[in-house]
Symmetry: C2
Subunit: 357 residues, 2 copies
């Protein structure tokens, strides 16, 4: 098809305190005594949110270690242990940031698809719907709550299980849940949204659908990080909508230079997505002059420290690995620099960029 037929999330509830409706939302999705599995970011272990999870019957909370971004091995281990213990489950509910969202989507899919999640890294390889899955973000910015992918690091590549079966059946957008996010983390994740908007709005792929969503997401990020001198409930509301709109805007757009370069960092060094994008954005004046200027203003205004010198002392071989991973993201480069991108972004030029980071 010339235009992607975009699979939407089935149900969305947005509201301060909407998390309290979770029990009622899940009730009709319970199948006999098969449990609901709540995959919760380990950040919440021992915190009040964990107490509020509406457990019934054999339901379980599994605290997911998302220190590193999700791996196919982690997905497979989780799905296999659930199958062994319960046969099947009523659903998988992800509560956390983008990594937890992606983990929940992937585990849901692997409950009903044979083999390893690594077999499904790519486009439209998933053939069976997963079990019921819901996403409840506690950090705003990645847009993972509405995306049709789930970024996973596998044995040979970092790539998502992109399919129409991947989006959540339900998302619960409760801005109260993002209130206690660590300030740095909140900024990095918010910047994932901001940078993505700059990349897509200045890219060569775009239509009015993605433009409308991208412009709205960008405007909301600016309200939160540029216009305001303090953080309040409205900031949480707005950043949550920015994340949602940013995620929707991906339907007919593509990210660009920051994401392409950042993928190399995360592959080699395990740099997390949000902070990785920030590290790269700092040096992209040549490609996004206005966006980088505003980005630096936000960094300063919000008193954030962006790590420097993370590529210091890497070997030629390591640089080559990053360059290979990055240049492999062809659609991102084409979106950013046009059809002739290979003439513009040579290996030498990219090496120089990595050396600065």
């Amino acid at each position: 098809m010339s235009f992607r037929n975009f699979k939407m999330v089935d149900y969305v509830v947005f509201g301060r305190g909407a998390f309290n409706q979770l029990d009622e939302i899940l009730a009709p999705r319970r199948k006999a005594d098969a449990p609901m599995i709540f995959l919760v970011d380990h950040f919440f272990q021992g915190k009040p949110l964990a107490e509020r999870v509406p457990l019934r019957g054999k339901d379980e909370i599994i605290f997911a270690d998302v220190t590193y971004e999700p791996k196919t091995t982690q997905v497979d281990a989780l799905a296999n242990s659930l199958k062994e213990k319960f046969g099947t489950v009523s659903g998988v509910i992800g509560i956390g940031g983008g990594s937890t969202m992606d983990l929940a989507k992937a585990v849901s899919l692997m409950m009903n698809n044979p083999g390893s999640s690594a077999d499904y890294q790519g486009w439209d390889l998933v053939k069976q719907p997963g079990v019921y899955k819901a996403g409840i973000p506690t950090l705003s910015g990645t847009g993972a709550e509405v995306s049709r992918t789930t970024v996973l690091t596998g044995p040979t590549r970092k790539l998502g299980m992109n399919s129409d079966f991947t989006p959540f059946d339900q998302i619960v957008l409760d801005p109260e849940l993002t209130k206690d996010a660590p300030v740095n983390q909140r900024f990095y994740t918010g910047m994932d949204c901001y940078i993505h908007c700059i990349e897509s709005l200045e890219g060569t792929y775009l239509n009015e659908f993605s433009k409308s969503y991208g412009e709205k997401a960008l405007q909301l990020c600016q309200k939160v990080f540029v216009d305001k001198d303090y953080w309040d409930d409205e900031s949480d509301d707005q950043l949550m909508m920015a994340s949602y709109a940013g995620g929707m805007s991906i339907a007919y757009s593509q990210v660009g230079v920051a994401h392409a370069v950042s993928y190399g960092l995360s592959y080699l060094l395990g740099t997390k997505h949000g902070i990785g994008n920030c590290i790269v954005m700092n040096y992209l004046e040549e490609y996004y002059p206005a966006g980088v200027k505003e980005f630096k203003y936000m960094v300063e205004k919000n008193k954030i420290e962006i790590p420097e010198g993370i590529c210091k002392g890497l070997t030629d071989e390591q640089f080559d690995t990053m360059i290979n991973v990055s240049l492999g993201m062809k659609p991102l480069w084409e979106n950013a620099l046009g059809k002739d991108w290979e003439k513009i972004m040579t290996r030498e030029k990219l090496r120089k960029l990595y050396e600065k980071l």
Copy 2:
């Protein structure tokens, strides 16, 4: 639930020429030899669009007379004739403006629900999903393509079949299809979106979800009808996105005075929704001063004539009918004027407003 759990349309495709993908989109939805039924606005009878409908097997085009807004009797007659002729159908595809969208949704539901569509006018009375249904707007503004209702005039009331089964399974947003819409009609329908945004953004019900969508829809309407001196492809793109965003914004917001008063007109006089809202908006300076000023500017700039004097010569009984219908729309009035709306909008005051129209 405190916050509505909003059922989204399942699939969205947006793009100039996306209509050409319809055959491919419908293929996996076909069940044995049960036909797809294309309900097409009678405006397209003999026009090129009708020739482009991808008919297969026993598929049929039914041209729907939408001179008046859809009635429950019309829905029942259509569904019954399809049942008689085919037993069941693979799907119902609506191609047209808001009335055609609503008709298609209602007929799809009545293929699988017993009795008359009048039995389901209200909230969550529909108990069975309909047959597959898709909406393809050829006019932008009503937001019917994403709403969970289908406004129908029944024997005792004008009210939708509001339910989670009501939204389309698929919408095809192809701005090329709105290109040849009559200028007046395009304006009235566009103003339905504009007025709705003014009403919801200035109302007392609102949260960041609906505000974000409402602001975007309003801004797109302004780009099209205020900022620009000509109509081009981009105008069609933008107005189509305005309609979509305006429809989404209804999730956690409500319309207001213009809609409440306009419902009385349409009940008594059959005034169509878009033009009815315009007739009323012309006299609402007291409630929406900035919006009405801008509305009048758009009317003048786009050289539109808004009918005047349509209530001239009505009897007291007729005025009473309109007043009763209008004051029955309690949530609309409460949204516009607050909890104490009944003290503000008295029968006398509303009568005076109707007399001006």
